[in-house]
Symmetry: C2
Subunit: 489 residues, 2 copies
């Protein structure tokens, strides 16, 4: 039996080259059981004419399918579905008729209900996206990332790609971090003091599991990164939220029973404050005197384009009390999911065992691609390019905010990628954000950053990491107008 | 000041092209502070002569460095380290002098000490690797994987690569799994009933966290996948290990208070037994009668090359009691770290929230590359190719095992990728494995698969997934010799 030529049609907007699409149509027809072994395919001439593509395209797709034994050639009579083609299942697919499970009882532990800070997935289609933490396609060095990715897919990296590392990491990436990345933050660490993680989120999560229990006490900054608060709430430890000031976390405000302090000294999240050296030393001294540990999320240290970055807390740590969290997901792109933990070997050992149990290791290909991008110097070039663009955007934004008399609550004297803003009392920035979205302006409401049952509703974050400089002034003026209309109303 | 040409040397065995290595030497010299802004680089002619490379190679490396502003050209006087080049840190790197932390107290929860089933990292250099679960470079379709990876690095996939999905997944991959992968296992599922995971390990871990607490009871197979036992021990639930027979898990042996049963019906791990249909129905009936849940790890169903695979337990499930674990890491390669969970929406919701807190989502690039490899039909072609090779190898192995009178304890009537073996009583296969490694034969001792304080020491696993057929006979004969010498001694 011949398969009718009409069974084939190109879907508008489909992915991949024409050749790939044709291959896929045939393969899927076979896998779904629509085309059966022995059935004859249309000739390449006929199919090409029907689809309106060149004959060589069809021929190449058929050659591909031949090689993979989906189809077979029979001399001059043409192509047929191969007898060795994979068979569709002989049983029909179905979903359960009903459920007899009481899921409210069956679920032993709940994890939903935490603040998950989501942004519209289509943020890039907004005209004024003052949105935080997404990759800007105009700044990212896609070309070199692609080259490094391609190199890491090469024959000599077969092992790096495919290997089951169990609880280990790509030794090349660990070596680069130890010898190049960390020394530039003033940190020396041995390989057994470094663990790769699925981004900073995963690093913070692992740290919380190893260090905290229901009987221990953690201190966080207020406001802070909402997902960190979620992690600590899940760990059920005692949680103290310490209000930050313009210099970040004040060490003297930490309660006496603290076991672990989570802090972001480079750029406090979300206020962008940089902790001064004197306070860093004071924090370390207090940690030693009261025997607590410090988890340093070295948040956005790369974005110190106004002044050189201060040394990391970890580099000032004489007593092995600081656990350092670094991330490539922020400066490269969040979808990368690659970060790392640096800490004393006994701590890293436990975090490594836990990571192995939870997920084994970050995918090998991601590790090796990052290694190449770092070691070829592309990463530093990218960070500098981003810093220059951010500096520009920040200058435009400062002027616009000043011209409209908007109140900056925190701006980071070292750089960063956002302004922390305060709207007049009584303004609910959740509502403001919803209204502005209708004018194609995206801002980030501040309430989720705060601890406590009644967070102030009038803060918001304005990031300049994804909005081109020429759009900033107009976006801010729309924001100012929306705020002004609220003041009168 | 000029940088001496002698500062540059090519390292033997270095990675990347000559051009990349030169770029890297210059960039690293600048980043480490050895080359300072304003210092003059050797001319391309001089450096080319010194390194013994062609002048165009040096010129291309310099052009690259120019573009990234590491170096600047000054008319005819040559190349200089750019004034905008990144600065090295102004503070020296250091590690803590000593630690004043009592880590035995500071660690709140321990995760080390679980059996982590490690293999020698250099297994590929052994001549007879009867080793399980590593990718075989002679079978894997690297060429098409590379093409798909490259396509996923392309401009139109910028978002899929870089986006922060928060708690979501690549919709294209979810769509493919729902419409193509699962129906072939007899399963229909909606997108909110599917969650991507970092391999099967991560899927099992998430499931255990959501369903189990210290007050609940889980049943596992004995022997079973050691990492699953580790996950359940960490969850501190009550754990029952149920001895399997030649048909896998016997449902009648499950204790009355069971809340969750973990099973591998397609190919029991490690015995390779396939659960017959009657037993599958009996298990489901018992689950309904006693209100427990079943976690089905559809382990190696793809490797049913002797008979078509049975329908998944999940496809027979009328009452929504089965949670299904699938993995691409096993059939593609373990370093991929990509698997999935299929279950009722209320369960998936909690697993999704937990995954978001622990790691957010699997890297976007990995998801999209896999989507292409699946949807172009390469995956099915690969599985068939592997099945054919495994069938060959299995036949050779069966003959060799028979010729030497070695005892097969489980072999999987549907296929699989290994034999589960029993050595004579009294043989310690840990010692046997160590001794054989010296003859370049790798086997896997069986004790870690068993629960209980005194596991039998005389079992072992022989996989044929990574050893070429022509080596099998000789490898088995070395194994037989080692066993025979033990019997006499």
């Amino acid at each position: 039996m011949a398969i009718p030529t009409e069974s084939f049609f190109l879907q508008p907007g489909a992915e991949g080259t024409l050749q790939m699409q044709i291959r896929q149509m045939v393969a899927n027809g076979i896998l779904e059981g629509r085309f059966r072994p022995g059935e004859k395919l249309p000739s390449s001439r006929k199919l090409a004419a029907h689809l309106g593509v060149s004959r060589i395209t069809v021929t190449l797709a058929y050659t591909d399918l031949l090689a993979d034994d989906y189809i077979a050639a029979r001399g001059r009579s043409g192509y047929f579905v191969s007898d060795n083609a994979p068979e569709p299942p002989s049983f029909p697919a179905r979903s359960p008729d009903r459920t007899t499970v009481d899921w409210s009882r069956a679920i032993g532990q709940r994890f939903t209900g935490l603040d998950m800070h989501t942004k519209p997935a289509d943020w890039a289609s907004y005209r004024y996206p003052f949105i935080y933490g997404q990759a800007d396609p105009t700044l990212f060095d896609s070309a070199n990332w692609r080259l490094c990715g391609l190199e890491a897919l090469g024959r000599k990296d077969f092992d790096a790609l495919t290997t089951d590392y169990f609880d280990s990491d790509d030794p090349q990436l660990i070596d680069f971090i130890a010898r190049q990345t960390l020394p530039r933050r003033g940190i020396l660490a041995k390989p057994d003091e470094i663990l790769l993680t699925l981004g900073a989120q995963n690093a913070l999560w692992l740290t919380a599991q190893v260090l905290l229990t229901q009987r221990r006490s953690a201190a966080i900054e207020d406001p802070c990164y909402p997902a960190l608060r979620g992690i600590l709430q899940q760990s059920r430890c005692h949680l103290h939220a310490i209000p930050v000031d313009r210099d970040g976390l004040p060490p003297e405000a930490l309660p006496r029973d603290t076991d672990v302090v989570f802090t972001t000294p480079s750029h406090q999240c979300p206020t962008s404050a940089t902790m001064p050296m004197a306070r860093r030393h004071a924090l370390l001294e207090r940690a030693e005197a009261e025997d607590f540990l410090i988890v340093e999320d070295d948040y956005e240290f790369e974005m110190s384009f106004l002044k050189p970055p201060s040394p990391a807390l970890k580099s000032l740590d004489r007593n092995g009390r600081v656990i350092y969290v670094g991330s490539f997901s922020k400066s490269l792109f969040p979808g990368l999911r690659l970060g790392y933990l640096v800490g004393p070997a006994p701590f890293i050992r436990e975090a490594r065992a836990l990571r192995a149990s939870v997920l084994r290791h970050p995918p090998g290909h991601i590790q090796r691609t990052t290694t190449y991008f770092l070691s070829r110097g592309h990463y530093d070039a990218l960070v500098r390019r981003m810093g220059r663009a951010y500096e520009d955007r920040r200058r435009v934004m400062e002027r616009a905010l000043h011209d409209h008399g908007l109140t900056v609550a925190g701006s980071g004297s070292f750089g960063g990628s956002s302004f922390w803003m305060r709207a007049p009392e009584g303004v609910d920035t959740e509502v403001l954000a919803r209204d502005l979205a209708r004018d194609s302006v995206l801002i980030e409401p501040g309430a989720p950053f705060f601890s406590g049952p009644e967070p102030p509703g009038n803060f918001y974050r304005l990031a300049y990491s994804s909005i081109p400089a020429p759009r900033i002034t107009e976006g801010i003026s729309l924001l100012a107008k929306a705020l002004a209309s609220r003041r009168c109303g």
